[in-house]
């Protein structure tokens, strides 16, 4: 999947240390390097505290690394001036875990989705904005009229659709999804995964998809990276990693995942 095209994102030697009270340090990220090709979905899997969310935040320039670089289309994000960085934000957007916390309860859905449109270089007319929001709402399987409603009128899955619409409205080149389906019911999770696959087929989405759930990663990712304690243990095509894990930790993770295999045992 990667191969000959130039990578869209390159993460080079990324480390992030947090100072804890008492003079101790937490090494949240330890020399992580990876790249994402255009049109690829890279899954990152790991347990809590493995650094996967820190990685997401740094790639989204919401936090700065202690050392290392993030290159987006060859440009170092952290060498850009704040103004230039703000200008580039239209190219990378994020979907969050908690669909109840990621939408401002006081804003109408249309306003929420339109929020990132301010990142576009051109000033859009009110009518143009409304048109794009309506089209986006339908793109994620909601109705254009839903824009006038407020977040609390929607279920968790519908809210996550709204969050996806917001992340895609500027037609970003890269979308980072941080546990985007973890707070959802199983059947809703399956719908959202279907939607993401569908949007990818239609718009050629490039994604960094972060999850603790191997099953979800397998459903959506072309390649997967396994993280533990801030380090990227292994990375490779999803099927290869799942079928033939190189690392002992990956094997443990795969074995711990509850599956219906237990049915094979006599009850």
């Amino acid at each position: 999947m990667s191969g000959n095209r130039a990578p869209l994102v390159e993460v080079i030697g990324l480390s992030r240390r947090y100072a804890l009270p008492g003079g101790r340090n937490l090494q949240a990220l330890d020399n992580v390097s990876l790249s994402v090709a255009p049109g690829e979905i890279l899954g990152i899997v790991g347990e809590s505290g493995c650094g996967k969310s820190t990685l997401a935040r740094i790639v989204m320039a919401l936090d700065r690394p202690t050392s290392g670089n993030v290159l987006l289309e060859g440009d170092d994000l952290f060498a850009l001036s704040p103004r230039e960085l703000a200008r580039r934000r239209r190219n990378f957007q994020m979907i969050f875990q908690d669909p109840y916390g990621s939408l401002d309860p006081r804003m109408s859905v249309a306003r929420i989705i339109a929020e990132p449109l301010r990142l576009l270089p051109e000033r859009l007319s009110r009518a143009e904005k409304a048109k794009r929001v309506a089209a986006m709402l339908e793109d994620v399987g909601l109705r254009a009229e839903d824009g006038a409603r407020f977040p609390h009128e929607f279920s968790g899955g519908q809210r996550q659709r709204i969050a996806i619409a917001r992340a895609l409205i500027t037609r970003p080149k890269l979308v980072v999804a941080d546990e985007a389906t973890s707070a959802l019911d199983l059947t809703v999770q399956a719908q959202i995964l279907r939607l993401l696959r569908d949007l990818r087929a239609r718009h050629g989405l490039t994604m960094l998809f972060i999850s603790h759930n191997l099953g979800v990663i397998e459903e959506i990712a072309d390649r997967v990276g396994v993280m533990q304690a801030g380090r990227l243990l292994e990375i490779g095509p999803t099927a290869a990693v799942m079928e033939n894990p190189r690392e002992e930790y990956t094997r443990r993770l795969l074995a711990a995942e509850p599956t219906l295999d237990f049915l094979e045992q006599p009850a």
Binding site: G101, D104, R106, R118, L119
Partner: protein, 283 residues
Amino acid sequence: MRAGMMRWLRDNKALAAGLVITVSIVVLALLSLFWVPMSPTKMNIAQKLKGPLENGFSSGLLGKDHFGRDIASMLMVGARYSLTVALASVAIGAMIGTALGVTAAARPGFTGAALGRLNDAIFALPPILSAIMLGALMGPGTTTAILAIGTFMIPVFARVTRGAAMQVRARDYILAARMAGEGEVTITLLHVIPNIASQIIVQVAIQLAMAILTEAGLSFLGLGTPPPAPSWGRMLADSQTYLLKAPHMALAPGLAIALAVLGFNLLGDGLSRLIDPRRRIER
């Protein structure tokens, strides 16, 4: 429709009671601009210290004071001063305090800590003390009372809004706003303040009660609105000498203060129950 209304009243007793009390006080205060039973400054020595309706309507609904002035009328006009001072000082406290609180929440580092210490310093000055100091500078009066109480309110609002703003700022929609390229000022105005507005409103109602009480205290000490304008606090002060001979002189302003404080507190309680997220989120 009617059943729904009765139900709302039953579920929001405190709010309903608070509304009735505060609206009545405001209406009486406003009415005093156009009409009072008798002039609140006109003395009538013949009627002095007369109890309520002691000489029929000529001694007034609530009786007369030691100069024979009509107490009911004085209460109505006094309410105007009480409410003006309370509203103005709470407005000062709410605006400056909220600005400080949301700024401190937006800048958790040095600025936030410095603002926190400044708050503590202001909070250490009780309004009576600052009123005495301000009074020495600019003489006692309505403005002095407003400034003294308003200053005291600043840290109260700063604390409440800072805590609430920090909670809002921990939500992911703030990160999403940052992803949309919004700066701290825009985030504060667009996302933080609307989401803490309800808590600010509740605090306003509770602090209005506090301000009315403090204003009464200041005018009791002679630091409030100067005579001849009637004020609840001074009426209470004047009544001390005649406590045994004319208890109605103390009871009337005392009850007025208690009722106003109770009204605004009920209003604040009721509002906070109404907007309690546990009650609001129903699906």
